[in-house]
Symmetry: C2
Subunit: 332 residues, 2 copies
């Protein structure tokens, strides 16, 4: 717990009886060092447990890299953000880049604070799932590249990694239309975040393409799902816009004993979705791939790649587990 201060290159140089610069050369793998000197340096490094000081080195170095990036996600404890974060950290670590991460809780103020904290630590770049519509504080970050993930920020000229939200929702709804459903409800705040708006678009166009009317979309809570079921003309199928709503819908359906009667497809996979009875059919995203893609894009930009902002679309995948395959009641 206590413990001495770390040895510096100077200490190594004294121990190895060479100049400080020679130690620097050896540590950085420059080839122009005589083998015997290099051996002495290595021995001194070992015996003193010397570790180079990345901060001091970056301060003087021409490229100015901390080999550290910042990641801002909605909730690091949630399954989606956690999978994203892990993939980013793994991909970065392969290139000896480490990750600072924080949860924004969809709070733009928190996003600013974390951006400032990471910037002060000279992160080489940022991966952000934007909260709210206004990312002007990111626009003022002109010295490091930013990559957006999960959500776009219109007007911000940054590489963006997105799931195919609209197409995924379209698939889900078409899946239920193909089973004969005509009263399909959308559960989600279609005025909210961009991802949900995109999913609502997919829902609407699927219905429009089939010439079927939309059931008036509804809000967030379990009570709302219940209200939907208890209404005058309940739907025969439900599409939920994200996994929390899916779970709410499952609860509501159970409560009314309708979980085997009304079809349900949810956006986002969630743990144990296959353990429920019936298994929950979902439009799964691929957060691991999104994270890898984001990390690669950012590292490319950090390495100096120029050119216009890129868009990476990560496909979603409809996983049939039972709940989405429930047919509508026979005509009546």
């Amino acid at each position: 717990m206590a413990g001495g201060s770390r040895p510096t290159m100077k200490d190594v140089a004294r121990t190895a009886r060479v100049s400080l610069k020679t130690v620097s050369r050896v540590v950085n793998g420059e080839p122009t060092v005589a083998p015997d000197l290099a051996a002495r340096v290595h021995a001194a490094v070992e015996s003193l447990h010397y570790r180079p000081h990345l901060g001091a080195s970056m301060l003087r170095r021409n490229d100015r890299r901390t080999r550290t990036i910042g990641v801002l996600l909605a909730d690091l404890a949630g399954p989606f953000s956690a999978a994203l974060h892990r993939a980013i950290a793994d991909e970065a670590s392969l290139r000896d880049v480490q990750v600072l991460a924080g949860s924004t809780d969809e709070d733009p103020h928190r996003e600013r604070e974390l951006t400032a904290a990471f910037t002060q630590r000279h992160a080489d770049g940022l991966i952000v799932a934007p909260s709210g519509p206004d990312q002007c504080h990111l626009r003022s970050l002109t010295d490091i590249p930013v990559v957006l993930v999960d959500r776009p920020s219109p007007g911000l000229p940054a590489d963006t990694i997105l799931a195919t939200n609209t197409a995924g929702a379209h698939d889900a709804v078409r899946h239920m239309l193909a089973r004969g459903h005509r009263r399909i409800a959308f559960l989600g705040d279609h005025d909210g975040v961009a991802t949900v708006r995109d999913r609502y678009r997919g829902y609407l166009t699927a219905l429009t393409d089939a010439g079927v009317p939309a059931v008036e979309p509804l809000g967030w809570a379990e009570a709302t799902a219940l209200a939907l079921l208890d209404g005058p003309t309940p739907p025969t199928a439900i599409f939920t816009a994200h996994h929390l709503l899916t779970i709410d819908a499952v609860r509501a359906l159970r409560l009314r004993g309708l979980h085997r009667r009304i079809a349900l497809v949810g956006f986002d996979d969630f743990p144990a979705a296959d353990l429920l009875d019936p298994g929950i059919t979902v439009v799964a995203q691929d957060p691991a791939r999104m994270g890898r893609t984001a990390a690669r894009a950012l590292l490319e930009r950090i390495d100096g790649m120029t050119g216009p902002p890129r868009e990476f679309w990560i496909p979603t995948n409809l996983i049939r587990r039972g709940s989405g395959e429930i047919p509508p009641p026979v005509a009546g």
Copy 2:
């Protein structure tokens, strides 16, 4: 994407027409600056978008703090590690400390690599869920404090945050004994990680206290749970040592149509455990509290607290949801 280099204190000083040291004083909130000068400095800071360089400052400062800590967990994408990580990051962020994190995947070699990466970046301290029995590379870290979380590392003199694994398992088994069960199986590798061994201890002592024989403990896979159910004298109740095994057990019970006949209590809560039918009774840990405790302990040590290693025991909580309350078959 492109973009100029960041302004330095020198630039601010020139713009505000004061000395560099005056800027330093204002930026660091030292009170001994005349209001008019301070105002000029603030204006210059704003107009240049100046942000202090924490790395350069730490290099010169006496306390030598990067206000950054490192966190090594098994799997940042898993629910337990993710909750732990989020709690640590939140607690640290309150004190303006940020978190570097990585997944070890239980691989001691990976643990070493990450330790080296964080050390080179001069993390002020480390929070580690140790992989494997040998943490000698942590012992050689004499210059920064280390806190262990989730798992102990005997012989390493570090603060340790642990769930009450033994007591929690004891509770779970006693819960089923009280319902009349006598053939209670333990599912888990009792030779494996320390946490599982502790849970096995709790299982055994609960049985011993009740004068009941243990069912021979079994290994990891779903196949094993099935083998248990298909054996000559299947148990009337199962205790699983962690959430992956719990899910395996649920699958196996479903497959044999026994999920309403055989009692099940699992260690670790997991998402949607309450949505299953029956709901799964679990011994829940409190990873958020473990994370907060770990962060606080580490920050105290970083702030210079001395004294012998501390142990923090975070209580577990038996959550009754149905599966654990299934009675044994009436005597026969």
